[in-house]
């Protein structure tokens, strides 16, 4: 019984906002029975030393992610568009504030 139950505690991903003005950042995962318990566990596990002012928990199986390779064809469209970067454009040094 306990073996089955243990597997019924799903995995949650934890995101912490370190201080106001910053984004929430992924810090790790934990197991909990539900979202409320996940929040409490996340507080105890990931913010024991004032590391956060806000926490998000998300069921791991609710997260959709891009393909396994970190740099695959999915990101190819942005690879050849150098004109999206400011350094692509040459402006004479004499022109100020640009």
């Amino acid at each position: 019984m306990s073996e089955e139950i243990r597997h019924e505690w799903p995995l949650f991903e934890v995101f912490v906002r370190a201080k106001r003005g910053l984004n929430h950042v992924h810090v790790g995962s934990l197991r909990a029975a539900d979202h409320e318990m996940a929040l409490h566990h996340a507080r105890d596990l990931y913010t024991r030393r004032n590391e956060g002012v806000s926490i998000w928990v998300v069921r791991s199986d609710d997260v959709v992610s891009s393909g396994p390779a970190e740099k695959d064809a999915f990101f190819a469209p942005s690879g050849d568009k150098v004109y999206r970067h400011p350094t692509y454009y040459s402006i004479p040094d004499s022109v100020p504030h640009i």
């Binding site: 306990s2 139950i5 199986d61 992610s65």
Partner: protein, 341 residues
């Protein structure tokens, strides 16, 4: 293996199958193998969803699990002193420290789960003796001075081992180690401060510190593992950049760091052969009792059976809480579903 489609650092069963197929292309170097070799060569991090050799995956799961188990079992020697701490201040510090050890274990189980391991399964492997933990935690904590010496020497040795692991090639492990190292510093300093306090006390208190140092010094040196010549997995772990320094190299570093700390404290490290070698620019030290090391690892330490029995009891006695929480969550979910309908 989990059936869950997981994200972030997690790897799904489907993706794992795809990655596996890449290796079946015969003797040719596959794209996955090339990418992995390139990542290692460039000193970049391997992430869970990347292709990796099966040996690398197995080694990482084994090492991370063993490390997690060590943190969890490591709560016991000091936890035994929480109710007997001499002041409220020391009790609060010790509580925080033991809570940190639990946290470290959980960061590491979280890292292991990114490789498809299941933490419930890892706990079972620990309880059934199929996975190991650091042999240091099989020694008893006889006096309150042991709490200080564990912080100073055992956590000091752990820091020596763990700082290079912050650059380990497996991303989730390296990130967990960064969090852990930040917190370990508190552990070592509270231990040393505790010992300084005792050393400024009565002759009996000073004797307790010396006695604890005598008992923990050699087991602390064993924490770095067998000598390089007798460490079969080291070469592969170094090639994969899981490890950055050899066992003997880290052990030497620890000895050199600790000698001046012992002098400042006013205790003698129990090794007549310990002396500065000006030629090497390092300390020489005596031979470690590797027979004892192997005996303790094999389960013959003073407290191996007790540590595992305690862990098993905690798991069994907590089972009803886990079941009740799951039942409550299921009931709440059913209620919400009912009110939505």
């Amino acid at each position: 293996m989990s059936e869950q489609t997981t994200a972030g650092d997690q790897m799904t069963a489907v993706e794992r199958t795809t990655a596996g197929e890449q290796t079946t292309a015969g003797e040719q170097t596959t794209a996955g193998e090339r990418a992995f070799a390139e990542t290692i060569a460039k000193d970049q991090r391997v992430e869970p969803r990347d292709w990796m050799p099966e040996g690398y995956r197995k080694t990482m799961i084994r090492q991370i699990a063993q490390h997690a188990h060590s943190e969890i079992i490591g709560m016991q020697p000091e936890g035994a002193w929480i109710t007997r701490a001499p002041t409220l201040r020391r009790k609060a510090i010790l509580l925080a420290k033991v809570q940190d050890e639990a946290g470290h274990g959980l960061y590491l189980y979280s890292a292991a789960e990114t490789l498809g391991a299941d933490r419930g399964d890892l706990t079972r492997r620990l309880i059934e003796g199929r996975q190991k933990y650091s042999s240091i935690f099989n020694y008893p904590t006889l006096t309150f001075a042991d709490v200080g010496v564990i912080g100073w020497l055992v956590d000091g040795a752990a820091i020596c081992n763990q700082v290079p692991l912050c650059r380990s090639s497996f991303g989730p492990y390296a990130r967990a180690m960064i969090r852990i190292c930040k917190e370990e510093s508190f552990h070592q300093r509270q231990g040393y401060e505790l010992l300084m306090t005792m050393m400024s006390g009565t002759p009996e208190q000073r004797e307790m510190v010396q006695d604890a140092t005598n008992r923990w010094w050699w087991p602390s040196l064993m924490m770095f593992g067998p000598p390089d010549a007798d460490s079969p997995n080291s070469a592969q772990s170094m090639a994969w950049k899981i490890k950055r320094h050899s066992n003997d190299e880290l052990r030497q570093r620890f000895v050199d760091m600790t000698v001046p700390q012992a002098e400042a404290l006013g205790v003698t490290l129990p090794d007549p052969e310990l002396r500065w070698n000006a030629e090497r620019g390092q300390h020489d030290f005596g031979e470690i009792d590797w027979v004892e090391f192997k005996r303790v690892i094999a389960g013959g330490g003073p407290l191996n059976a007790q540590r595992i029995a305690h862990r098993r009891r905690a798991d069994e006695e907590g089972a009803w809480v886990r079941e009740a929480a799951a039942a409550h969550a299921a009931k709440q979910a059913a209620r919400r579903a009912g009110s939505d309908a």
